[in-house]
Symmetry: C3
Subunit: 437 residues, 3 copies
């Protein structure tokens, strides 16, 4: 612990972010983060959007490698293991619900109460002595602002949901609109880092929203010192996280290569605009909050929820402060007709740039970047080989926060790597397609 303290002291005394990145890169004080390939355990995670599950229906999702089937019964959502205790069949292969509170395995008729996972009947041997002795794992579930959250872990009771959700998610006056949810073939850490990444703004130049909304998109934007970065790393209230105050950043509007100028999009290089004064925060376990985006008065929420080691559910919900019903109606219309299509235009599994293909959705570009980074991080020891630079300061701080405050590391135990297996062969958590939703 002495060594730990001295390391933190040393870092605390460095104000230049480039020096800080160099120091962190040398020491890598976030081993627990590197070990958490499958996610961090004993945290709450978004499972899906409320609108995806009607009364009496079921939906199957994998979270951190665990297969879960959710059912809405009496208005509430419940989650149990999607695997019959008898022969291991996934209920979601062919969900059978004879009554409001139960789910029955189609193969041998084992019937469980979804509220607590207890075996209540076996249709092929009614009144079996096994009733009362067998149960499925059951998962704590909460539902707010159109998002269904599930707790993955062993704490009983689980910690409050608010400790694991971006802080402004609870702001008064905000109205919410789910924009999209897709499975992306990249590790959750790669994707969380990419969403928060100061430099990756460069990659969004080709997105249709940039030209359609004439967004003056800088080439880059980063903090030269620690003034532009707030780290929630202390004991006390959660969630823990890192916030980048873009208003205090250096904004890059042009750069020179071999005597040629490269200029940011929608900008007069002789008269560059002021940078957008917005805050981007990344909070544990895996949620992004951008206040504002894409325009003032709107708060943008994203999550990178681990499905397994090599894929995550990418969810975006848009919010806006609305004072009247008219405003709220207009907000939902704008999401459906304008923002949604600008965010997501092409299939989730398309990760190659076509020669003369479609204009890209803003977040489709992130998906392409993640697939490419996933390859080297998963296969080429890239956490040890990467060469980070000044704008990555917020990312190394994020890694340190997670390593320090995670409640646990998810490990494969009694469940297997499914290698894409799912009841319908399409893989768990495919989200909705096509289009942006």
């Amino acid at each position: 612990m002495v060594k730990e303290a001295s390391r933190e002291d040393r870092l605390a005394n460095i104000s230049d972010t480039e020096e800080a990145v160099d120091e962190v890169e040398r020491v890598k004080p976030y081993q627990a983060y590197l070990d958490a390939e499958l996610g961090i355990r004993d945290h709450w995670y978004p499972a899906f959007f409320s609108q995806e599950l009607d009364e009496g229906e079921t939906i199957a999702e994998m979270r951190l490698g665990e297969r879960i089937i959710f059912k809405r019964a009496g208005g509430r959502v419940y989650g149990v293991e999607d695997r019959c205790a008898h022969r291991g069949m996934a209920f979601s292969t062919k969900p059978e619900c004879y009554t409001e509170n139960t789910i029955t395995c189609w193969l041998h008729g084992f019937t469980y109460d979804v509220r607590d996972g207890k075996l209540v009947q076996i249709l092929t041997e009614p009144g079996s002595n096994a009733i009362g002795k067998i149960n499925l794992r059951s998962y704590p579930v909460e539902e707010h602002n159109g998002v269904v959250f599930v707790f993955i872990g062993d704490m009983d009771p689980p910690p409050p949901l608010k400790t694991d959700v971006q802080p402004k998610f609870w702001n008064a006056g905000l109205k919410f609109h789910p924009l999209m949810r897709h499975r992306i073939n990249a590790n959750w850490r790669i994707s969380a880092e990419n969403g928060f990444d100061a430099g990756h703004i460069y990659a969004h130049r080709g997105a249709e929203i940039v030209s359609a909304m004439k967004i003056p998109l800088p080439l880059g934007t980063y903090s030269p010192n620690k003034e532009g970065v707030v780290v929630y790393d202390e004991e006390g209230p959660e969630p823990k996280g890192v916030v980048k105050l873009q208003g205090k950043d250096v904004q890059v509007w042009s750069a020179e290569i071999e005597g040629q100028m490269v200029v940011a999009a929608n900008v007069d290089p002789n008269n560059p605009p002021e940078g957008a004064d917005l805050d981007v925060g990344l909070y544990m376990p895996c949620g992004l909050e951008v206040d504002w985006f894409p325009k003032p008065g709107m708060i943008h929420f994203e999550w990178y929820v681990p499905i397994d080691e090599h894929s995550h559910t990418y969810m975006i919900t848009q919010s806006q402060y609305c004072e009247t019903e008219e405003e709220e109606r207009a907000f939902h219309e704008e999401c459906d007709n304008v923002l949604g299509p600008l965010v997501w235009k092409i299939p989730a599994d398309q990760t190659a740039f076509p020669g003369d293909g479609p204009t890209w959705g803003f977040n489709n570009l992130d998906a392409v970047g993640r697939a490419g980074m996933e390859h080297v991080y998963a296969n080429e020891d890239w956490f040890n080989r990467e060469r980070l630079y000044r704008p990555d300061y917020i990312i190394v701080r994020w890694r340190m926060v997670v390593a320090k405050h995670m409640r646990g590391i998810q490990k494969r135990g009694n469940f297997a790597n499914t290698n894409g297996w799912s009841p319908d062969g399409k893989g768990y958590s495919p989200g909705k397609a096509p289009g942006h939703w």
Copy 2:
């Protein structure tokens, strides 16, 4: 051996089948069965149906991981290793047969006698000194009632075929009709257990044959004690196996969940029928015999023949006692036009229930169940995690019989897991498609 004896004594003294399942599940007295992922060695297995191989033609099949090419020459079927001794090319890539009794490798002209596997000529170096020194492995083959059997093992001579075939296969007066043969992506043990399984009758409710033939299908049917189960487990004649006497079973026609009644198909719950008085037997190495099915006078035979660790050939041949040629003709017509389509309606690799898809073939439903169980047994240690119940008594007895009487365990030796490789890229033993045949 003392311990073994006392274990058997203890089990012998338990008459209640649920207690017996609990006892067996605790001790798992069938380790050799758990080790036989690739099948049991030194047994006879069905290879294909006679009608699939004409004079002079060849067919390639994999059995227990071994690639075999069969040729019919002079009316008889012969089988040799489907791999040239020289460069390892599969003959089946492009079978060349210059003469009745030979097969030639298309790549360098190595030519072998299919009757004994001996190298008899090399077209690219005629009269080579290698002739007489090189030979392929050759396999014992027998053909009866429209089924071609092959012996996988080292015993020379092999044991009599009859020791490895269901006993009524030889009954006088029976006529045979092959109904289907398909590759199913599940381990042979999962599938044999599923075919024999007392409780899985519940899963067949949705099959078209049940409504089309108005079969009063119980929810379940099981033996509460050992009177309904005959175990052929003693020294003496083979084949060894387990038979379930359904006439002595409890028949379940309804069950209650949360106050709601679930009722069997085609049954008046106030006046349930008597159960069908039929016998279902599972015999080593992997054959099912149902006397009768689907109606009295018909005996139904199935096999679950290992292809590799994760797939098997699923074969069904139907039989009926016929006294006249007219009866026989009508039997074949009924198989072609009625039974076949009711047994198998959708492609073998379709294992997801479509929302509003086609009505299912009776045995297609088994294929779906097997794929789901295969996942957890192959990947999630399910042989150790499964929670069995009373109707599984016949299954644990089957496991004990196989573990006790198997002649050997198949292991990968000089041949590799092909991971689906085959000369045409479609995998070995695809059977015939589409349709039920």
Copy 3:
């Protein structure tokens, strides 16, 4: 070394090639060759054809497992690692070239000089201190006769290109025409051996070129003693290799099986022709030279360049002595209109013989053979199980030459098996399709 010498002496004293094969097969004096699954290091390899890369454009190829992006700048071709030092993104995902000599990563704007791999700018943090500290691996490149060669290794400077190219490639008066380049799913050694293989001529009987050009194709052609084989195995000038003098070979025009005669294509068995007097040489690292083919005055060059452990780029360039421009024009026309289509007719990944499919391209047949051999060599220990015969003498000598003279063995180091991963999901080095080019 005494043992080594005595082994060589023993082999030197055997003049009969069959005895020599037996001796070599017993001792296997080429372990380094067996270890070189990923290729031999510190050699020059063909990368692609000149015509595939225009000024200012880029092309990505994998060689011996290393991902390389090539750019033509100022007429010259340069090659650097196709992986940004920062986050590991492949430049080829979306190559950005703002200036003649640079390439920029689309994700964070890291910009490198392709001539030496040095980081020269970061668009998202212009003037970063990282500039000058970071660089990509850069590869020596040379371009001759329409072929771009790249050096894979660590020698600085690399050895002369001529030490790694077939000797007649430099012959005065030769004009060159690239015929095809395709990715084949087989190890480079399997394919080099297959290209040189004396016996595999039998497999070409079905090719359209054989009937179209009425080529009297022998069943086989081999050296009964060492007179027909020249081994370049001594100290001194390179490249090292083995040459088969077909004019001194036994030519097989017919052979008998069970009393039936099998006769070579386009031959009167009672009056067989003299064999073609041509030389076939295989040179390190992986190049074939046939003088002449398909007709006198033409020299045929092939390469089997390792992509990864289980695939190679198969390249063919045709050459002809031309004295006038008219001759040269006619040569290119013949290549485009006649030879190309006869060499390659079907897609590279089609490796199954269709029942009644198209007539095959001459070299398509090689691709089929390689895929079949690859399976057993990669998975079934076939280098230890193969049973070689007299015509394989040239192959075992080739193995010995490579094992003795290779400069190094390629091993996976900081790069991973990509399992077919590539920026566009289609795999590296797909070559051009469809058609023969």
